[in-house]
Symmetry: C2
Subunit: 462 residues, 2 copies
């Protein structure tokens, strides 16, 4: 086998220039999913990607309609039914970009400059997903085969929060069946500090509505005799945390999987110092659970944040009313194995229990997302480590993401397989900002790592 | 004297029809001070009112320019330097009115219907101020003289919160010098329950600003490690009241003049039942200081209300941010002898003392108003009582206003004279709403009471 993978890696190195020019063609298509005038571009990008899959040797390639933008699917099952199968997820849609927003060049006219490809979507996610396509091509063109089966599914609505992805997964569980999923849609601080993400937080997003009088009241006529809804809301919100900054909702932590020493050690490798946190945020002093480090608080602990509050008059000058109502947007970041709906129910029950009788209080669930947590002792995770060591040349760290990527939890939950999040981008690639870019070295090492991952997965004991 | 006053009252009764038609001419002028396109109407109303004062026998009549709309002044000093002088305050400006807002007839085309005159300003305040003008006319036309000197000053900016009134008072203290001020710009529940207002609350209006990070932060990146400004604001606001609903700001009650038993008995005469309060406001349960009745809470006790709060995202759907800042509008209703600036300083000091180090907190003073409290044992107040008994036919109650009328405190403070607030309107006259009206019976009894007040003031021992 070592001859095969060596030939495969050599093919990838030899063809990097063409791989780069193909990616630039892909980047030139303004596949902005969030703007309806780009609907034709979305269709064009899907077709282009399907053609790419066919050209590298994938079969059963199709552009699958959804209620929104289509999913592009393709597979190569030539390794046979006894071999393992890798499912590759990525997204071909991008967020809007306007040269006037600080871009040095047209965001949809890709250019190479100082070792980077500059274009919207270069890192998020066209460049990263393409590494896996080129990995399959390198195997098939260099040796006529590959050691694992490959299935690709690329969605066009990631930047829209994937509204049609869970239905697509549910309807295509047989088609997508695999042993492991790999996603390259994340990043690392520097080229020499690659990372595999093994945890993402989930979410429970709700609104708390407090209503009092049937209309705004004159504060000179009724002040002091009715419970001001803005005050009642403040009183409720102030009871959501304990004095030690932990969350006061009874039962909130019941399903939280405790951090192991190994996990805490891994997190410590990417520690954020107090100085870094103060400088990055601009706050006068830090806050949070004293028993956990900053990095643990923002990635491995569940949180409850107020995202917005509104009541009464907030314009210029005085207006002497008692507002009829007050509302807050509140969201929790959840960790394994918290259930977003159970968390909502716990908050709802707690808020109801502390709501004073002098106002009406109602909690409304806005949206949920499941957390995802994969042990980094899983064989597929260890295969990922070895793939980086061989393809990237550096042993990766395991990191936890503070945010949420719903598809990860959906795949884990619906398909029952681990998801290895092998990021190939850099933290300063400018995702969603001006001058987004993807390093040519990242692209090269990413393809090499994707090839090595196929090899490593094929070697796992069954 | 009883012959003179009888003749005067007879004259007023005989001329009620003409008095009414003159008032309707006044009401037909759309003197809306808050809308710049009505500036010519404001000038016309001022001139019309000045002409009226001249026509009833006032002298030294002038339309005095201010930085805004003019003040109309006139006097009759024929009672001589040894007689008492009554200063009449009123305002000739009105709030906007649009027939489309539910008016049955054009708001500036006055009509008589079912014993009421319907027009914008009928009760607030053109009809009420006119009673005193017609009282002087009745004296002068029936007997050629009056028992007291009279000074009238009518402003055109009451509906704009009287921005130029205190300067006008300050610059004209000699011109306006008087023994007592009478203001008819308030109301009573029914014709048989007239009231003299003897207390108005003052105000301290401020904003509390909480700032944390230099920009909104991604709650998935920093949640749990910084103090959410909306949470910090809620924590501060929740500490402004004690569990018994009294105000927690140290020193807040220090200057509050305790209610006497006589005052509490007087307040009890206009008690608001729990049922009435619940029905009027629509709240599920009442709230406030248990040691005080509803009526005491809303008129005789100081309050602290949140008028508005704002922070972060309050639009539709989720947005997962930690807001960079949060703000609240907070205002206190003050009673004698609280000082609005001292109250601000107390709140500022308290909020600063409870502000956590993890955010920055700042209080900003927006506006102040002095409270006003006149003992109902004052001879001028007793004169008011007798005036109602003779002119209205009913002994009035003494009531406290929950709101603020800045001119009252200004006159008391700058001129050192009591202000007798003899309201002639009805609570349901539709002030600032559609179909504002003034009862013809109210007008008639108001003129009779104004005449009787002149007589009673003239009889006070010096």
């Amino acid at each position: 086998m070592s001859t095969v993978i060596n030939a495969t890696q050599q093919y990838a190195r030899d063809n990097l220039g063409r791989f780069q020019s193909e990616l630039m063609d892909f980047l030139a298509i303004p596949s902005v999913s969030t703007e309806s005038e780009h609907a034709p571009d979305m269709a064009r990008a899907a077709d282009w990607l399907a053609d790419q899959l066919i050209s590298v040797g994938a079969e059963n390639v199709r552009v699958v309609p959804t209620a929104g933008h289509p999913v592009v699917y393709g597979e190569w099952l030539g390794a046979g039914p006894d071999a393992r199968t890798i499912l590759v997820y990525g997204h071909y849609d991008v967020v809007p970009a306007d040269q006037a927003d600080g871009w040095e060049t047209n965001p949809f006219d890709p250019v190479e400059r100082d070792g980077f490809l500059y274009a919207r979507g270069a890192s998020d996610d066209k460049g990263q997903l393409f590494t896996h396509v080129k990995a399959l091509e390198s195997y098939l063109r260099s040796s006529g085969s590959a050691p694992v089966n490959m299935k690709f599914f690329f969605e066009g609505e990631e930047e829209l929060a994937s509204p049609n992805l869970a239905p697509f997964l549910n309807e295509n569980l047989d088609l997508l069946a695999a042993d492991v999923c790999v996603i390259s849609d994340t990043s690392m601080p520097t080229l020499e500090e690659p990372a595999i993400l093994h945890s993402l937080r989930g979410m429970t997003y709700l609104e708390i509505h407090v209503t009092g009088p049937h209309d705004d009241l004159h504060s000179g006529f009724w002040g002091g005799a009715v419970h001001n809804p803005a005050l009642a809301l403040a009183e409720i919100l102030s009871q959501l945390h304990n004095p030690d900054h932990s969350i006061a909702v009874p039962g909130f932590y019941d399903d939280v999987v405790a951090l192991t020493d190994a996990e805490r050690n891994e997190i410590e490798k990417t520690a954020i110092s107090d100085e870094q946190a103060l400088q990055s945020t601009g706050v006068p002093a830090l806050w949070g659970e004293a028993d956990f480090t900053i990095k643990e608080r923002v990635t491995a602990r569940p949180t409850l944040e107020i995202n917005g509050i509104g009541s009464g008059w907030t314009g210029v000058g005085p207006k002497t009313i008692i507002p009829a109502s007050a509302m807050a947007k509140v969201s929790c970041r959840l960790v394994g194995n918290q259930d977003p709906h159970k968390v909502f129910d716990l908050i709802d029950a707690y808020v109801t229990s502390i709501a004073p009788p002098s106002v009406s209080v109602r909690c409304e669930l806005i949206t949920t997302g499941e957390p995802a947590l994969f042990s980094f002792d899983l064989p597929e995770m260890r295969a990922g480590v070895r793939a980086y060591e061989q393809g990237w040349g550096v042993t990766p760290m395991f990191t936890r993401g503070g945010g949420s990527i719903p598809v990860v939890a959906d795949i884990a939950r619906l398909m029952g397989i681990p998801v290895v999040m092998m990021g190939f981008g850099l933290d300063d690639d400018g995702l969603h900002g001006a001058n987004e870019r993807f390093g040519i070295e990242n692209y090269k090492r990413g393809i090499a790592t994707a090839i090595a991952f196929m090899d490593e997965i094929s070697r796992l004991e069954s």
